[in-house]
């Protein structure tokens, strides 16, 4: 299980780096640590959602763990599927 800490800022500027980072984990079970996230924009949301789909396709575990309050709030403000965030840190 690979773990990756999401940066504090996930705005449009952070999108290319996030995309690249996620691609580099392709094929590995992945846990994203969301505890540091302070903001989340549409571009990064889209990348996280696409990543989730990609991992699901290969049936590899993928989870965003311990989301910060800010991340959880923005996630729900976007109307994104709540089950993708796992507060308990249990990926599957």
């Amino acid at each position: 299980m690979t773990s990756f800490a999401l940066p504090a800022s996930l705005d449009t500027r952070a999108a290319p780096a996030l995309h690249e980072a996620l691609l580099s984990f392709d094929g590995h079970a992945l846990t994203l640590d969301g505890s540091q996230v302070e903001n989340l924009g549409g571009q990064c949301l889209q990348i996280l959602l696409a990543a989730h789909e990609a991992w699901a396709k290969h049936e590899t575990p993928f989870a965003i763990e311990s989301p910060s309050d800010a991340l959880a709030a923005q996630w729900s403000a976007f109307g994104a599927p709540p089950h993708l965030l796992s507060p308990q840190g249990d990926p599957q």
């Binding site: 705005d11 290319p16 924009g41 889209q46 959602l49 696409a50 990543a51 923005q74 403000a77």
Partner: protein, 757 residues
């Protein structure tokens, strides 16, 4: 700030735009103050506020957005005619525009703190004005969904786009909610906007059910290229006006697909719209067609749509105002298609004004260019001198070519200077606010008239004009204008007038600040000057000389130190700052009629017209602006006073004579006295308009030179303001006449002291 950071760059551009928008706002409000405004003026003010709010929203400047929102809502009331634009309204606008400017300055980091209390007070005043005569929905936070009985009566009529005809606008009430479908294009992200912020703004209107549509989401591997695959459907359960929703999205106009439908009746409309995009486009084209500035068919101006919707609305108390049925931004151009930035914002007055194309250039780049051009001019002069020394015939190709080169380099220099030239408008526009504030503090009625705002002058001069003008206007209101009773008693209109004018005169810019007040009280000025020991009790001064006493350091005519002026640092500070710009200030006053302060400044600080002179074996340059006359004295014109001081006879007067070479230390103490050398006297005018004569060895001619800072390249030298490089490659020092006079006086005092001891 990093220039590499595109977001920071966009933010800086936003602030620059804010500056222009605030100027437009000020102009509109000023026009209204003078009764010159009409509906379009109010519209222009509204657009300016709206544009600031929109941009601020994109950058998350919440305080600014909140205030702008209240202000904008109020302006909307005015432009829709629901509230009348009377004196109270204009006063509220003036206050609000000041606070808005403060908010922008604060967000930009130009002022350290924001007067929240004032902001609140002004915002509350605006709300109070709106509430006066019925609550306004958009001003206050909208309550949640209400179980109003009107729900049952609400009958949505789908095809109601003929805004030109008021009768076809349904007399329905605002629906109980809205369904908003929002699909950002990639451009939305690229321009620094963020759906998260827009969704948050929507959530502010009332309870929202947000559902995310990921059906167009592409594979992760394909997301390397920026793309926008997400869209949202928002169910807003609040009976807000359509306008509150569309204004949230106005700044992403053309950068997203947006459909707003009233809740509960969407089926009917969806059916209508599902007939195809063509229908919607046609519908919208029809709706926008009457608008004079209808944009290209594939882009719909929400603003125009709304303006018409509002105009068409049956006048009624705000809360009951019928909402337009629906607003749809069309499937705007494909994300990559538009090459221009989705049409200029409608609030951008500069674009509307003349359609002049302009670019923003970093000032450093221009300065660099000016510097290089300065070097070119010097190099060209040096080359010309070398060629002249070769003794070539005047018709030789080298000489002819050189003359052409000279012509060209002069043209380049002029053109470069023109790039830096800025209208003084940016400074003048700040003054109405100042006048208002000072007038309020002093309880006087003041009207400010500005003239010649388009007069252009070098940017460095413009930047440094604000302070002296501010000071002069404060003084004019505080000391110059009488209070209302005083004015009535002397048969003048109650309202005092301050006139601020700029004009070009013989290669310089002249700024005049005049008032129609009481004029200078010469008796009092004279008494104060005597009391403070500035002049002797028996001094015989002309009216002009008496008037000019107010420029002496430490002189203040106010009986009491007021908040506004009269700290005793008034006019001498003004004169000092103007002199530092190479300018002069004078005053003309008529008792009972008013005073005129006139300052004259060079158009640029980069070049200088000067007289090349030699003194003590050195080549020096005296600024032409301060030279009155030069002459060769006859024997008997020079008289020695005391041990070392000299005076010279000039037109039946005696002027102090300053031995330039000696004062600057070029000629040693052993150098022969003035009478032992041939020389020329240059009569110059120093601070306060008094004249002195400079003694120089000879005059070499008049020349325009490029100013080089001595302080930057060497260090400050007393009596010298800057340096330049002459054609022969030598450095010539530029005389600081005022400092030279002071220096001469100090040295004279010292020598007297030596003799006395």
């Amino acid at each position: 700030m990093s220039a590499d950071d595109p977001f920071e760059a966009i933010k800086q551009t936003f602030f620059l735009e804010c500056e222009e928008l605030l100027t437009d706002l000020e102009a509109s409000v000023t026009a209204l103050t003078f009764g010159d405004g009409d509906g379009e003026t109010i519209n222009a003010a509204f657009r300016a506020i709206h544009s600031i709010k929109g941009g601020a929203g994109a950058f998350g400047l919440e305080e600014l957005v909140r205030f702008a929102h209240v202000f904008e809502t109020y302006m909307d009331e005015l432009r829709s005619g629901r509230k009348t634009c009377d004196e109270t309204a204009i006063r509220a606008m003036l206050h609000a525009s000041d606070v808005l400017a403060d908010h922008v300055s604060f967000a930009r980091g130009l002022i350290p703190s924001m007067d929240e209390e004032r902001s609140q007070t002004v915002a509350n005043d605006l709300r109070a004005l709106m509430d006066d005569g019925g609550p306004v929905g958009a001003a206050a936070p909208t309550p949640g969904p209400s179980l109003d009985p009107i729900e049952a009566e609400f009958d949505f009529k789908p095809v109601m786009f003929d805004f030109g005809d008021t009768t076809s606008v349904p007399d329905d009430v605002t629906p109980e909610g809205w369904i908003i479908t929002f699909k950002p294009h990639i451009r939305l992200y690229e321009t620094g906007n963020e759906p998260a912020l827009l969704l948050r703004e929507l959530a502010r209107l009332g309870p929202c059910q947000i559902s995310l549509d990921t059906s167009e989401l592409v594979a992760l591997a394909d997301l390397g290229e920026p793309s926008a695959c997400l869209s949202w459907t928002i169910e807003l359960d609040a009976p807000v006006e359509l306008e509150s929703i569309t204004e949230i999205f106005e700044f992403v106009e053309g950068e997203c697909d947006l459909v707003i439908l009233p809740k509960g009746n969407s089926a009917a409309f969806v059916e209508e719209s599902s007939a195809g995009d063509v229908d919607i486009a046609a519908l919208l084209a029809a709706a926008t067609a009457p608008a004079p500035a209808a944009p290209a068919t594939d882009e719909v101006d929400i603003q125009a749509l709304l303006a018409m919707a509002t105009a068409a609305a049956v006048p009624a108390p705000a809360a009951d105002a019928p909402a337009p049925v629906a607003s749809v931004t069309p499937t705007a151009p494909a994300p990559s298609a538009p090459s221009t930035k989705a049409a200029a914002p409608s609030g951008n007055a500069s674009a509307a004004a003349g359609g002049q194309a302009s670019i923003r250039v970093d000032l450093d780049r221009i300065d660099k260019l000016i510097n290089v051009v300065g070097e070119l001019v010097i190099q060209q002069a040096m080359l010309a001198q070398s060629v002249a020394e070769c003794g070539l015939a005047a018709s030789s190709t080298v000489k002819v070519g050189l003359e052409d080169l000279e012509q060209l380099s002069r043209e380049i220099q002029d053109s470069v200077m023109a790039i830096r030239a800025q209208p003084v408008k940016s400074v003048f526009q700040r003054m109405p606010r100042l006048v208002r504030e000072v007038a309020e503090m002093t309880g006087k009625n003041v009207r400010l008239i500005t003239e010649g705002e388009a007069t252009e002058v070098d940017k460095t001069v413009v930047d440094r004009l604000a302070e002296p003008i501010t000071h002069m206007i404060r003084n004019a209101i505080d000391h110059g204008l009488e209070d209302a009773e005083g004015r009535t008693a002397s048969g003048k209109p109650k309202e005092g007038t301050i006139r601020l004018a700029a004009l070009h005169r013989s290669g310089r810019i002249v700024i005049e600040v005049s008032d129609d007040g009481r004029g200078i009280n010469r008796e009092r000025v004279r008494k104060i000057a005597i009391d403070r020991g500035l002049i002797s009790a028996d001094a015989n001064l002309s009216n002009e000389e008496t008037d000019n006493l107010i420029f002496l350091p430490g002189f203040s005519t106010a009986d009491s130190v007021s908040d506004i002026s009269g700290r005793g640092v008034g006019m001498d500070v003004v004169r000092r700052s103007i002199q530092q710009l190479g300018g002069r200030i004078s005053i003309a006053s008529t008792p009972g009629k008013g005073s005129v302060f006139t300052m004259s400044l060079p158009l640029t600080l980069a070049v200088l017209d000067g007289m090349v002179v030699r003194a003590g074996g050195q080549t020096l340059l005296s600024p032409l602006s301060s030279i009155i006359e030069s002459f060769t004295p006859k024997e008997g014109d020079l008289h020695r006073i005391g041990a070392r001081d000299w005076v010279i006879r000039f037109r039946d007067r005696f002027l102090p004579l300053i031995d330039t070479g000696r004062v600057l230390g070029f000629a040693g103490p052993d150098a022969p006295e003035i009478t032992g050398r041939d020389g020329i006297a240059i009569v110059v005018e120093n601070e306060g308009g008094s004249q002195v004569a400079l003694w120089v060895d000879d005059i070499q001619g008049q020349r325009q030179v490029v100013i080089k800072s001595l302080e930057t390249n060497y260090r400050k030298v007393d009596g010298i303001s800057a340096a330049t490089i002459l054609g022969d490659g030598r450095v010539a020092l530029i005389l600081d006449i005022d400092a030279l006079v002071v220096l001469g006086r100090q040295q004279a005092n010292q020598s007297e002291f030596k003799i006395a001891s």
